[in-house]
């Protein structure tokens, strides 16, 4: 057997060995996508018998669906506000807990508790807290104001975003904290020590020494939370169901309403496909920007 033949044989053997794994990955990853695409070009709804081919009609409808674009806008808004807030608060807490405080393990454990609660339960709990009649938040405000104060946290457009963001940030800041705290504990203390000896203040040390070291972890944390926020559903569903009107309706809520309340299966598939495309582009761009993909 000649040398090139040996190489060809080895290559074929290698392909044969990885073929099952590749097939499974393709099946798991691509089949649902292809199926979604196929459904999106038909006219399937659970109510109607007509399931005929519709071409790009659902996509055309989606482009002119103002509710879809508004929902996308709300999603981006929640992401744009909550993500930096969670990062900043998580980082602040992580830096605070770097110091040897009495009872630190207990506080860390308590701090992490919100993250382990199911988001729908957290949303339900915050709904009770924000209740205008029996909720403690209005009661505390009333005591402070010295007169009865009725804030319709979940109905008034001036307060509803704040209410959702409070619940969301409360629940997921500890996740940021946990990741950043773990990475900060791995930063070599001699680096900050040296900077301090050279006269660098806290902010200078943070900006020039600590943040560059933990940057990969920050990027991963932002990516995970960013994707989560883009799919935000539970907490808003429990608090407002997307209301008042559709003012807090996110893309996931709109997809749920269309798919499981209005039974627009094909239209929802088109929506899901567009969301997948948008997310893929965003994630690829983010990964490329931070050079993790390489």
């Amino acid at each position: 057997m000649t040398q090139p033949n040996v190489h060809r044989h080895d290559r074929r053997f290698g392909y044969a060995m990885i073929a099952p794994a590749v097939a499974i990955i393709l099946f798991i990853g691509l089949f649902p996508l292809i199926w979604t695409l196929l459904v999106s070009v038909q006219n399937i709804s659970m109510i109607d018998e007509d399931t005929s081919f519709q071409g790009l009609l659902n996509y055309q409808r989606l482009m002119s669906d103002t509710r879809f674009w508004e929902a996308l806008g709300h999603t981006l808004m929640f992401t744009a506000v909550a993500l930096p807030l969670e990062l900043i608060l998580g980082l602040a807490l992580a830096l605070l807990f770097l110091e040897e405080l009495p009872g630190r393990p207990v506080f860390v454990a308590l701090l992490v508790l919100p993250t382990v609660i199911s988001p729908i339960v957290a949303g339900a709990a915050w709904r009770l807290l924000f209740d205008n009649r029996f909720g403690p938040i209005n009661q505390v405000i009333s005591w402070m104001a010295g007169e009865p104060v009725t804030i319709l946290w979940l109905n008034d457009p001036n307060f509803v975003y704040a209410a959702i963001l409070i619940a969301e940030v409360w629940q997921w800041t500890p996740f940021m904290f946990l990741l950043l705290f773990a990475s900060l504990t791995n930063v070599d203390p001699s680096l900050s020590e040296a900077a301090r000896i050279d006269g660098a203040g806290f902010w200078r040390t943070l900006w020039s020494i600590i943040l560059p070291v933990i940057r990969p972890v920050i990027v991963i944390a932002l990516l995970i939370r960013g994707l989560d926020l883009f799919r935000i559903f539970d907490v808003i569903w429990a608090l407002t169901k997307g209301g008042p009107g559709t003012r807090t309706e996110t893309i996931s809520i709109y997809a749920y309403v269309q798919g499981f309340q209005q039974f627009e299966t094909s239209y929802t598939a088109a929506m899901a496909f567009v969301i997948i495309v948008i997310l893929t582009v965003l994630v690829m761009a983010a990964l490329k920007r931070v050079e993790i993909a390489r």
Partner: protein, 484 residues
Amino acid sequence: MMQRRRFFEATAMAGALAALARPSFAAESAAKKAVEAAKQYAGTEISIVWEAGLQALDPLNFSGPLWEKETGIKVKVVEVPTSEMFTKILQEHRAGTGAYDALNVIPAWMPDLVRAGALEQLDEYVDKYGYRDELQDIAPVYRDNQMTVDGKIYGLPDDGDVFIMYYRTDILGDPEIQEAFKAKHGYDLPVPPKTWKEFDEVGALITEVTGGKPYGAAFIRDPAQGQFMFQERFRNEGGIFFDAETMKAQVNSPAGVKVFSDWVAENKWMPPGVETFGFVENLAAFLQGDTAMTLSWPPYGRWAAGYGTDEAALNWVPKSTIAGKVGYAVTPGGHPQLASGFALSVSASSANKEAAYLFIQWLNSRDISIQRVQLPFALRDPFREGHFTSEEYKSRWPEAPQYLAALQEAANTGILDLSILQTDRYEEAIRQGISRLWSGEDPQAILDDVAAQWDAVTERVGVDRQKAAYADWASKPNAYPPKA
């Protein structure tokens, strides 16, 4: 010997004749017929979809165990929240798993479920098990409107849901308030108010005189249930849902705008935050004596009287502070909505259709239903003529006769939920509209959007198909209040 032989022959003949005559079940009640026929399925299990929560305590605590004791058939109760029942029933039907045998169905869904093939036609069973006579005892408004689709039976009306007005007799009868009312409006305070104008004037004055202790009234403003109230009031104000010729939505007509505008105005003399009131919040406010009037489903009346609220299952219901001080009446406008309700159906994909049918016939029968509508912990409301006139029911609390009389009058004058093709999509647009109303948007602008959404749904369903469905629904005597 011969005589003995003849005796056996005669006995055998009589038995055979009795067996032949058995399907007619001449003198037996429908409940007994169902039990006897169901015994052949002893040892099996049937499932029934039931609204989660209090409603499901009926089959869990009462009817399910009793049926098992009488027939040997186990009943598995599948509890589903109302908002998900339609979805689950359709999903199960599409999947064809046969997981559900019997169903609770909101009558407004029936046309959609029948067209999807999810419901079994029941005429054959009704005849086979001799149930037609007892069906005649169901109040006409439920029997004639919530049982059939295209003239075929698909559900047994099983819940007399209707909105009732509850008012505090002590407050509306208070001489000080009556005097203040006459001084302000120039006529005697009407007890109870019969029009929305009267209702608003009475409610606003009570709040003014008492300083909100109690408030004049409160309502369920939550969009999910508020949409029923919109449908009712819109039609009582003269509104028509669609132009019957063009099928263009008329929900943004002056009647619709008036309803929304009146709602916003009413909130000013109702408890702060009434915009967020759902079934429970509104109930709590009324039972605790915080409001003088309200509108809701029939259970409010029972609980306000303190009926059954000692039951463990009802420990979440606030203790009534107003027992003995509550009056019952038809809602202002005179045509309350038969909001929601339930009919019992058999799933088309069931593998136990006969047993499932027998169970729902038994549940719905005269003998069993009278017991079920008196269960204090369940939410089934009187729906048979015999329920309204039951002496046993009338003796449940001192004002029960007036309560039952109000329910019967409401059943006679009630108007139906809109029920056309894909009704929920139209209702969803109203729900969104109500939600926007509470965020401060302009009623006309909201309703213009709702109308545009309705037109878009109609286009998607097909104007001609929907026109036919609407014509069928609108031709029913209870679709709209009779023209004066």
